[in-house]
């Protein structure tokens, strides 16, 4: 049953990604519609999957790498579809959709069958930590896609080369990046606080120099600096680059959490 779901949503992501790329390279409106329909269908399917998983395994399901990856894919696609109502940026879809495809595919690959968390983690703090933290990750992922488009557009403008298709304006992208980073930062902050409370509840200490903690705090500092530096003129290309660096830190921290570094207090 779950396997069928996986195959189906993977297929839909693939169709949506191909259609998005088709739309931005040929400009065909039909391709855009196909992409949105396929993506919405994949999202609906994943929503069903997430609900099913939560109801069968409970909140503990939020702890495995497999679940984290599919949760991320689901959140990112949901955010993009939400954004789509306000600002239809097809080129962003062409990045978000392959990302969702890769996340879903890797979530399948890392599926180990062990779906439960250590019992000590299964407290009320777990959802309070996972929900804001992952929403924050998803928003940062979206910001990174926006940043990539920004860097592409800025490079084209500097080099005086024009692409076959028109990208959104620098101002639009920079503004969107700023909003994403601000919202992501707020949620991520909550996630870090509740995360340390969770650590306290589970192991009796707020802070234990684990890679996930160190990297998260580094990323947090970087994003805090990024938001501050905007007022002294660090925007545009620098902001886009830093957004990507911060996201890279988060990706590494998420992996370190799950591949069970020697410390051995991994979730998965």
């Amino acid at each position: 049953m779950e396997l069928l779901f996986f195959a189906l949503s993977l297929g839909l992501y693939l169709v949506a990604a191909a259609a998005f790329i088709g739309h931005i390279t040929t400009g065909r409106v039909l391709a855009h519609r196909v992409a949105l329909v396929a993506l919405t269908a994949a999202f609906a399917l994943d929503t069903f999957g997430v609900v099913l998983r939560l109801s069968s395994v409970g909140l503990g399901a939020l702890g495995t790498f497999h679940d984290q990856l599919s949760l991320l894919a689901w959140l990112i696609v949901g955010l993009y579809l939400g954004l789509q109502w306000r600002a239809p940026l097809a080129v962003l879809g062409a990045l978000v959709t392959p990302l969702a495809f890769l996340l879903t595919l890797s979530s399948y690959i890392v599926f180990s069958g062990a779906d439960r968390l250590p019992a000590e983690l299964d407290t009320a703090w777990l959802p309070a930590h996972v929900a804001p933290a992952f929403l924050g990750y998803a928003i940062f992922a979206l910001a990174s896609c926006v940043s990539l488009v920004y860097l592409l557009q800025e490079r084209q403008l500097k080099a005086k080369r024009r692409g076959r298709f028109r990208l959104p304006s620098l101002e639009t992208l920079d503004d969107l990046n700023y909003r994403c980073v601000a919202w992501g930062f707020a949620l991520f902050t909550i996630g870090i606080v509740t995360g340390s409370l969770l650590a306290k509840a589970a192991w009796g200490t707020f802070w234990s120099w684990e890679p996930v903690q160190v990297l998260s705090v580094l990323a947090w500092l970087l994003y805090a600096g990024l938001l501050q530096a905007r007022s002294i003129g660090w925007r545009g290309r620098r902001a886009a680059t830093l957004t990507l660096v911060g996201f890279a830190l988060l990706v590494v921290s998420l992996i370190s959490l799950n591949i069970g570094l020697p410390h051995g207090r991994s979730f998965g």
């Binding site: 040929t26 400009g27 065909r28 409106v29 039909l30 557009q153 403008l157 500097k158 005086k160 024009r162 076959r164 028109r166 990208l167 304006s169 620098l170 101002e171 639009t172 503004d175 007022s231 002294i232 003129g233 660090w234 925007r235 545009g236 290309r237 620098r238």
Partner: protein, 427 residues
Amino acid sequence: MNQPDVLIVGLSHRTASLDVREAVAFADDQIDDVNRQLRALDGVDEAAVVCTCNRVEVVSSTREGPQVAERIAAFLRRADSGPGADLAPHLYQYWGRDAVRHLFRVASSLDSMVVGEPQILGQLKQFYTRAAGVGTTGAVLHRWFHKAFSVAKRVRTETGIAGRAVSVSSAAVELATDIFDHLAGKTAMLIGTGKMGALAARHLMANGVGNLIATNRTFERAVDVAREFKATPVPFEQFPKYLPMADIVIGSAAAGEFVLGEAQVQEALRERKGRPMFCIDLSVPRSFDPRINALDNVYLYDMDDLSKVAADNLGERAREAEKAETIVVEEVESFYRWLGHLEVVPTIVALRDKVEAIRRGELQKTLNQLKDLGPRERELLDVMTTAIVNKILHAPIARLKQQDRRAETFYLDAARRLFDLEEPDES
């Protein structure tokens, strides 16, 4: 009964020079009369004249042959007031698919002098409305024109035929919208009084740029420019002070030295807190230091860069036009199929065939069960069912055969739907 066909007779910038087109063109207040006279021509079922500075064309439908085109041509010749001008070499006529394709190409601006220019669609709509207003159009032209409008819309949304700027100053506007979200509320600064600079400023203001600051070495000239553009003049020595306000800086000074340097822009950027600047250097030789482009958040384009963008875009338009032609071909087929289905006879035949097939089938079923019937009874049953079918079909078929064009399409559509006859493709 002849099948309705479509016909376009006319001339355009491709076949006739401006003086010929001027001689044939109708004045605006003549259009209604011209439409009525065209409709009154023998064999013309529906007619609408289209008359722009680049073309004079009569769009019509008829059930007769080439002589109708001759009559329309003669009508246009009569309208030609030039002494002894011979229109024959300039006139073209398109029939059937070619006519459908021609109107679709005109609407999509593929036949325009500047391919992709947007005015023609509005003009077509206007001329169609005029003709519809005096009742010289019917089902065929109604459908044909509206299909042309939707083809044009499809071409516009699915190809970049009108999407790219093909002149230096519109390229500047296009690049500005690649940098800025929208131009409304943005401020531009014009340094110098050259023609190209003024043109670019005009384009930018037409696209929403709200404020213009003008400066020049000779302050009086800056004041002149400022008056023309409702801009704010500032003395040349003071322009760096105003530079941070400028989102767009246009250079149009015959200087021989750089009037805008790297340090000045860097200073302005600091005050702008990194908000981007677009510098357009339209002077030859250049008046902005090219090193400005290396600064973060500043984009400097000179005359060569802009010409290259415009030339690239022109090439892009040509490629997009090919895509548009494919769309037109698809749509021509779909429209032409519909036109073919306008013919009444095939519908009636299909209707009769269908009902007859039902009658035979049901009769056979009944006869199979009544094996002991004699030949006479069998024949009577056959006659009776035939009579029922004919009586039922009589009124609908009579209605379908009516000559009124508008009603005819309606009933044909209705008959096809009600009796589930093979649906014409009307996408």
